[in-house]
Structures are given as structure tokens and as C-alpha cells.
């Protein structure tokens, strides 16, 4: 929504960019080499439109049941390698002495089998799903020496896997443990906020898979979006806000035990 002359100029430029960019993307499909016309809406062609959005995410920890559907959906949607996680669910159990016990067996890909503490000593217990915070001032983007990690115009932190050298500096710099080196490609990997789905009008695989509406992905620029609505109504917290990364992943019902 910025109709200026300057804008028209850049629009023409972006159109050119688009034509150059979308070409040879190998779609790993089983039956059809071409994409089905009606199965999914097409990705946007005008990159200038990206700037109209600012994607954010909300996790309602009070609603999470720790089923791990999000982890499984993410693994399948994005082909995440075994033993690594773009999203995972942590479980916090606080005993009567206030000591905090945390676990996340295999990222909770098969949910949780048993309680950590016996009922008598358990004072409080809850789940916290985690994913990339898509920080406004992301530490990982800052430290990438080759510009392989970048912030998109619509506020998503992505990795250009054709440029990444696999130095691992971003893995060290992320305060949230969201990154890993994918051993299959030797490059860094992390949550893309299902960027390929968002711009087709779909929500992230994890938010879609959540049976409890504990995860909401949405546009922070749209006042009527469900995300904005919940952010208006509920109190929320951020992870490690003191590090100045300015995360865009909001946690409803966040306890100070959670880091």
C-alpha cells in the first residue's frame, strides 16, 4: 500500500528479478513433473508484494497438549533430517521445591510416554512448543559471513542453501537452538516459517497440524488477523528478550522457567 512513482520503478525491477529467479526449481515429485494446477495456489510472481506482509507467530502454551503433531508435520513438510528439529515441544515440570525439570525426547516427535515426576511431587507442569523466532534483529543473519542467511522483505529469516558454506557460526549465534547443520548437504538449516505455504495463502504445516489451535501464524500488518486479535486479547512473553534479537514469535502463558 505505497502507491508512489518510486514504487512503480521498483516494481518493474522486481518483475525482472522474478523472471530470473523462479526458473529451474526442481520439484521433487513422484508422479508429475509439472505442478498440479489446482492442488495448490501458485506462488506469487511479484516480489514487490512481499513487503506488504510481516509474518509473525504465536504459541499458546496454555493450549498445547504435547501431542507432537506439529513436529511430525514439519518433518514431513520440510524433509527435516532425523535427529534434528525445525520445531520441537519441550515439557516443563516443576516440583514442590520449585526445581524445574525439562525434557523433549526426540523433540517430542512421538509425544511423551511417561511423566517426569511422580504426581505427589509435581507442582506444575506444561508444554512449550518451540520454533525459529524469526527475529527482527536476528543474530544468525548478522553473523553469516557469506550472506547465505537473510531477512526477507516480509520478515522471515531464510537460508540460501546454494551459498551457505556450512561454517556453523549461525548455529552458535542463535540463542534458541533453532539451527543445525544438515549433514546431507553440509549446509545450515532451520525453520522457514513454511515460506512456500504462506504466500500461497496457506498456514504453516505445524499450525495446520495443531489440533488445539495452540499455534497461529499470521500477518502482523493485518489488524484483523487472528494473530493480531489474540495478541490484543492475551498477555504474552518473548524468549530471551534481553538479548535484543526482537523475536516475532509470541508466547502466551510464558513462565519465567522457559528459556
Amino acid at each position: 500500500m505505497r502507491p508512489t512513482n518510486e514504487d512503480d520503478l521498483s516494481r518493474r525491477r522486481f518483475l525482472r528479478i522474478t523472471l530470473a529467479g523462479v526458473g529451474g526449481v526442481p520439484a521433487a515429485t513422484l508422479f508429475l513433473s509439472t505442478q498440479s494446477k489446482d492442488l495448490f495456489p501458485p506462488p506469487p510472481t511479484d516480489l514487490d508484494d512481499l513487503g506488504r506482509f510481516e509474518w509473525g507467530f504465536l504459541v499458546d502454551t496454555t493450549r498445547c497438549i504435547g501431542c507432537g503433531s506439529c513436529v511430525r508435520a514439519c518433518q514431513k513438510e520440510n524433509g527435516v533430517p532425523d535427529g534434528y528439529y525445525r520445531t520441537w515441544v519441550e515439557r516443563y515440570e516443576v516440583d514442590k521445591d520449585g526445581e524445574v525439570h525439562v525434557d523433549s525426547p526426540d523433540g517430542a516427535i512421538a509425544s511423551f510416554q511417561t511423566d517426569l515426576l511422580p504426581r505427589e511431587t509435581r507442582n506444575k507442569a506444561f508444554f512449550v512448543p518451540k520454533l525459529c523466532n524469526h527475529c527482527r534483529s536476528s543474530a544468525c543473519t548478522q553473523v553469516c559471513p557469506v550472506g547465505a542467511t537473510f531477512d526477507t522483505p516480509d520478515g522471515v529469516v531464510l537460508i540460501d542453501k546454494d551459498r551457505c558454506v556450512g561454517c556453523g557460526y549461525c548455529v552458535q549465534a542463535c540463542p534458541y537452538g533453532c539451527r543445525y547443520i544438515d549433514e546431507r548437504t553440509g549446509t545450515a538449516d532451520k525453520c522457514t516459517l513454511c515460506y512456500h505455504r504462506l504466500h500461497r495463502g496457506m498456514t504453516t504445516a505445524c499450525a495446520e497440524a495443531c489440533p488445539r489451535e495452540a499455534r497461529i501464524c499470521g500477518d502482523l500488518r493485518a489488524p484483523k488477523s487472528r494473530l493480531r486479535q489474540v495478541l490484543r486479547e492475551r498477555r504474552y512473553g518473548l524468549l530471551k528478550p534481553d538479548l535484543g534479537t526482537r523475536p516475532k514469535c509470541y508466547y502466551v502463558g510464558l513462565d519465567p522457567e522457559v528459556v
Partner: protein
């Protein structure tokens, strides 16, 4: 694994290769500073090893990027750091600082050895003569005037090289110190500590080699050189160790949220490698030995032995310090609730055998260089020293 670590943290990303990288760069910077102490600050006592330390710095510099390349997930894309650098990243400076330093070092060695190569050129014939000519870039003449000129250029380059050497290594410390996500790394003291430990390791490796070679070849040793090296080693190691202790002390005294987990790290996973080995054995040990050498009147044999022992201990101390920083910072989970573990394998790509090769090969290269241009000419030879 102990306590809770984030699921992605179960694999330690930076291996023993990244321990070696700051270690070798430290040797580069330290050895260069020693040569500059002679060239720039005019420390005559260090003249016998000035050239040796310069070439050592160069040989180590050649090998500094090797552990990095071996560690990269995509070594074939290593040049991306020069082609599309992201200047917001501390790491993107590596290529440029490294290249600048390499140029300075090569030039300094070229000017330092020019007169010798000219002499060889004159004595040689055939292919060797042509090779020497190419190496000399066609400048095949020398006399006292060009010798003086060469010395002047060497001195200038050595002067420019000091800040670059400090930046090269301070930058490595900054790589760690600027990671705010890691409480064991994130301190502004980190790059200062790295600079001082680099100087310590540089002096230590030269002391070690000088004593070893003179013993091994039964050469007459310049005792003033040994004494000066020992004195500098003593001084710099005190500063380095005090800075390392101050860093932990300030963390402990501030009692921030992270201290509780850092204390657990120090008294748990790092107890042996950090407290017992790095601090008690390899810091306190050489401090006492070098103090004895400096303050007591010991027989020459004993004092030289103690200096030798100290240099070995300090070389180990700096290696341990790199290990405890690089690995210690990674086994500490960013959840502040647990620790993972790391031990390198023997034969894997980033294992101990490869690590040992990367450390040993520069010394063999140095020996090869020594065969062609002897660092410590035998006095029996008629050439003036």
C-alpha cells in the same frame, strides 16, 4: 548428556578443528611479534631467532585455514567469504585480514631473504639459477646499499605487521566474544585474552624449538636469547593468565542468571581440562618454574631445562585454553539447564589423527625450509653470522 539441552544441541557443531584454528593463528601472531621485537623494537638478544620466528609465523599461517577448510560443510564454497562477504558478520573479515597478513608476511620474508637468494643465484647455474631469478623477480643484484634498503623495508613491514597480527588474532577472540547467545564466550575481554595467549604461545613455541634444536644438534646456544625469551614468556603468561582469571572472576562476582550454570560447567564438565590441567598444571606450573628461573640463581643446565619445560607446559596451556573456550562453550546448553558432551574420534574426518597431522606438518615444513636456508648456521662454516 546431562540435564536438558535443546534437541538440536546434541551434536556439537564446532569440533577439535575449530580448537586448532585459533591455536595455530595464535602461534602465527605470537611468532611474528617475537620477530618484530627484534626488527622494530631493536631487541638485539632476539636477533639469532628473528628470521626463524618470521618463517615460523609464515609456515603456521599457511596451515591456519586448513582446519577451517576441513571443518566447513561445503569447503568447495570457501571463497564465498571473499566473493559475497556480509560485513555485518565478524567472520567475514577473515578472508581479508588473512590475505593482508599473508601479503605482509611474504613481502617481509622476501626482503629479509633477498640478499641470501641473490648470493645463491650467483653461485647457481642452469635450472636452479632460473628459478632463483624468478623468485627474485629479476632483481638479481645486491650491495650494501640494497641490503640497507631491504632492512628498512623489513623494519617497516614488521611495524605494520604488528597491528595486523594483533587484529588477526584479536579478531579470532572477537568471533567468540561477540556471540551473545553463549554466556561462556560473550565477554569483551575475550579478544584481549586471545591476543595475550597468542603471544604466549608464539614465544613458547620459539623457545621450545630453539632449545630443542640447539640441544639436538649440539649447537652453541646464545644464552642471552634464551634468557630474554624466558623473561618475556614469564611476563606475558602472567598477563594472559590473570586476564583469564579476571574474566571468570567478574562472571562469578556479577552473579548473573548464567553464573549458576557456568559454575556447574567449571566444576563439572570442565573440571579436569580447565581447573586441573589449564589452571593448576599448565598455568601455575610454568609460573613457578619461570619465577624460579628469573629470581633464583640456578645452574645454567637446570634453568634452561626449566625454561624448556615451561615452554612445553605453556604450549599445552594455550591449547587447553582454546579447547575449554571452543568446546566448553558448546557443551553448555543455551537452555542453561544442561550439558552435552564431546570427544573427537580418532580416525574421522575431524578426528584426532587429522588434527595431529595439521599440527605436525608445519614443523616438518619448517625443517625443510631449514635444510635449504639454515636458521642456525653451524659456526664452523665460514659465512659470517
Amino acid at each position: 548428556m546431562e540435564g536438558f539441552v535443546f534437541p538440536n544441541e546434541q551434536h556439537v557443531t564446532w569440533t577439535v578443528m575449530i580448537v586448532l584454528y585459533p591455536y595455530i593463528t595464535g602461534l602465527v601472531a605470537g611468532a611474528f611479534i617475537v620477530s618484530s621485537l627484534h626488527h622494530v623494537f631493536g631487541l638485539k638478544q632476539l636477533a639469532p631467532i628473528a628470521r626463524f620466528s618470521l618463517v615460523s609465523a609464515f609456515v603456521f599461517l599457511l596451515f591456519a585455514p586448513l582446519p577451517l577448510l576441513n571443518h566447513l560443510g561445503r569447503p568447495d564454497r570457501a571463497l564465498n567469504i571473499l566473493i559475497t562477504p556480509n560485513f555485518r558478520s565478524a567472520m567475514s573479515g577473515f578472508g581479508f585480514i588473512y590475505a593482508l597478513y599473508a601479503i605482509i608476511l611474504v613481502l617481509e620474508i622476501w626482503f629479509d631473504f633477498r640478499a641470501d637468494i641473490v648470493r645463491r643465484y650467483e653461485a647457481a647455474s642452469g635450472l636452479a639459477r632460473r628459478v632463483y631469478r624468478v623468485v627474485l623477480l629479476g632483481a638479481t643484484y645486491r650491495d650494501e646499499r640494497t641490503d640497507r634498503l631491504d632492512k628498512k623495508v623489513v623494519k617497516t613491514l614488521a611495524g605494520v605487521g604488528i597491528p595486523v597480527a594483533l587484529i588477526l588474532h584479536g579478531y579470532v577472540g572477537f568471533l567468540f566474544g561477540s556471540i551473545k547467545a553463549n554466556p561462556w564466550w560473550s565477554t569483551p575481554l575475550m579478544f584481549i585474552i586471545f591476543i595475550f595467549s597468542a603471544i604466549v604461545s608464539g614465544i613458547a613455541v620459539l623457545t621450545f624449538l630453539y632449545l630443542f634444536v640447539t640441544w639436538n644438534r649440539r649447537l652453541t646456544r646464545n644464552q642471552a636469547t634464551v634468557d630474554t625469551l624466558a623473561r618475556f614468556l614469564w611476563g606475558f603468561m602472567m598477563v594472559a593468565v590473570v586476564l583469564e582469571l579476571m574474566e571468570v572472576l567478574s562472571l562469578a562476582y556479577e552473579q548473573t542468571e548464567e553464573w549458576s550454570v557456568l559454575r556447574e560447567l567449571i566444576t563439572g564438565r570442565l573440571w579436569v581440562s580447565y581447573v586441573v590441567l589449564q589452571l593448576l598444571t599448565c598455568s601455575l606450573g610454568p609460573f613457578l618454574l619461570l619465577s624460579a628461573v628469573a629470581l633464583l640463581k640456578l645452574p645454567l643446565r637446570i634453568s634452561n631445562l626449566l625454561v624448556f619445560l615451561s615452554s612445553v607446559l605453556l604450549l599445552t596451556q594455550v591449547l587447553l585454553m582454546r579447547w575449554n573456550v571452543v568446546i566448553g562453550g558448546q557443551i553448555l546448553s543455551k537452555s542453561y539447564r544442561g550439558f552435552t558432551s564431546y570427544l573427537p574420534g580418532l580416525f574421522e574426518r575431524e578426528g584426532l589423527v587429522v588434527a595431529a597431522v595439521i599440527v605436525i606438518v608445519p614443523f616438518l615444513l619448517l625443517r625443510e625450509f631449514d635444510k635449504r636456508f639454515p636458521f642456525f648456521p653451524v659456526p664452523a662454516r665460514e659465512e659470517p653470522s
